[in-house]
């Protein structure tokens, strides 16, 4: 059974690129346009094996989203990869403190993302 990955990004074009990379690698994908939608998708999906999240998003940013995920008893062990235009160390530190497991600065290339996913994804 294919593993499921949640993509959270307000840019639909970015979600398309990420989705194609992940689907081509054999993963199932669900999507959300911001942190709030991401939490709703998690509630609906029940379990996902990994989350790929942007940082700067409307309604709920990625750092806040990860904080909520890590506070959720069902999802607190789900690994999160931040995929963002932000490259500042201060921002990365915020992501690490919130509970993210990896930080990739856009533009990314698919092998880079797939490498991080394969290293972190839950069985």
């Amino acid at each position: 059974m294919a593993k499921t990955i949640l993509i959270v990004d307000d840019s639909s074009s970015l979600r398309t690129v990420v989705r194609m990379a992940l689907v081509r690698a054999g993963y199932d994908v669900i999507e959300a346009g911001d942190g709030k939608e991401g939490l709703a998708q998690l509630d609906k999906a029940g379990k996902v094996n990994l989350i790929v999240s942007d940082v700067n998003m409307p309604n709920m940013d990625g750092i806040t989203f990860v904080t909520h995920v890590k506070a959720h008893p069902r999802h607190k062990f789900t690994p999160v990869v931040m995929l963002t235009t932000e490259g500042q160390d201060a921002k990365k530190e915020q992501g690490r403190a919130a509970g993210a497991k990896a930080w990739i600065v856009k533009p990314f290339n698919p092998p880079q993302l797939l490498d991080a996913v394969s290293k972190l994804i839950l069985p």
């Binding site: 074009s13 690129v17 533009p107």
Partner: protein, 358 residues
């Protein structure tokens, strides 16, 4: 919009580099130094009003450009995604061409396999022909041996007839000797007569056997002759068939090779196109960065105008540090920070492929 186009009377300081920040500072410097002169406040208020109007116009245009770029990018990405799906359908293995599916690279592979199977069957047919000929040659060899045996049988029948003749002659001599013996030889004469009768019958039987063996031999030879003629004809037919099949196989070989080459070429080109399309899709990530930069610019314009209006009310210009902080608030990319730190120099988007693991 150039600042000089909205220069107002009473302002002695005109921005020399045309940036919004410099222009705003010039307004505030002018305002701070000339508050006592009539018309200065109203001129500054007019300028701020114009600036506010300009900022709204710029923001609207930026929003329009963003929306158009986002829509166009999404359409392009959607189109590329469809192209990739179609390429996958062409390149990736599908079921055989024999199922009537459209010709694809994989379909060509299947056809090539079918043609190779046909070639194998035709070669098998030739082998069957050759096996048939060999079997018939073996049968003909047995028939020839049988014909040779019939000659031996004829010789043996002749031997039997010869023995019968000699026996007949012997019985005749025995009868003569029995007659000479007189009454004591009568019994012997009866035996001699009976032997003569038997030898005569043996001779007749031997002759009939000889006749049958001869007839058998003649039939056998006729059959052999007929079979030899058929063998020669069959050899010609088989040879001609073999040549035809070889020609067909050569044509099939050529077709198979061409199809295989074509299939390989299609796959290679498909892979190349797919790689290029994937690279293009990756390159379209610029839209996300541009979108975030423009969002920040929009936000910064609004903040700057609001701050200038507040400065007008307060009668004091924001200091350089505050102004810089206001303009840089909400930066999300390194190139924004670089451009802010290095004046008007443009910075390229980062291309680092490093992943930070926590």
């Amino acid at each position: 919009m150039n600042a000089s186009t909205i220069a107002q009377p009473g302002l002695t300081s005109t921005p020399d580099d045309g940036t919004l920040a410099t222009f705003a500072k010039a307004i505030m410097r002018s305002l701070a130094g000339r508050r006592d002169k009539p018309g200065t406040i109203s001129s500054a208020e007019t300028l701020c009003s114009r600036l506010d109007e300009a900022s709204r116009t710029w923001t609207t245009h930026l929003g329009t450009a963003q929306a158009q770029m986002r829509q166009a990018t999404e359409q392009l990405l959607s189109g590329f995604a469809q192209i990739l799906e179609q390429l996958d359908a062409i390149i990736q293995p599908a079921h055989g061409a024999a199922s009537g599916q459209p010709v694809t690279a994989s379909g060509l592979d299947s056809r090539a396999q079918v043609l190779e199977a046909c070639e194998s069957r035709l070669r098998g047919l030739i082998q069957n022909f050759q096996g048939f000929v060999q079997s018939r040659d073996a049968v003909m060899q047995s028939v020839r041996q049988l014909a040779g045996e019939s000659v031996s049988l004829g010789t043996m029948a002749e031997d039997v007839a010869q023995i019968a003749r000699q026996t007949n002659l012997l019985s005749l001599n025995a009868a003569i000797e029995a007659a000479r013996a007189g009454p004591s030889g009568r019994g012997f004469a009866v035996v001699a007569t009976e032997v003569r009768r038997l030898s005569t019958e043996s001779g007749d039987t031997g002759k009939r056997i000889g006749d049958h063996v001869q007839a058998f031999g003649q039939h056998m030879n006729a059959a052999l002759k007929q079979a030899s003629e058929h063998t020669a004809h069959d050899a010609q037919v088989i040879h001609a068939s073999e040549q035809t099949i070889n020609q067909v196989i050569e044509q099939v070989d050529s077709a198979v090779s061409q199809l295989n080459e074509r299939a390989a070429e299609l796959s290679a080109r498909g892979e190349a196109v797919r790689a290029q399309v994937e690279q293009l899709m990756i390159a379209f990530q610029f839209q996300d960065r541009v979108h975030q930069i423009m969002d920040q610019v929009n936000s910064s314009i609004s903040s700057a105008v609001a701050r200038l209006q507040q400065s007008l009310k307060d009668g004091a210009a924001p200091d350089a540090d505050e102004w810089t902080a206001l303009l840089s608030a909400g930066y999300t990319t390194d190139e924004q920070r670089f451009a802010s730190d290095h004046g008007s120099q443009n910075a390229a988007a980062p291309s680092s492929n490093d992943t930070t693991f926590f």
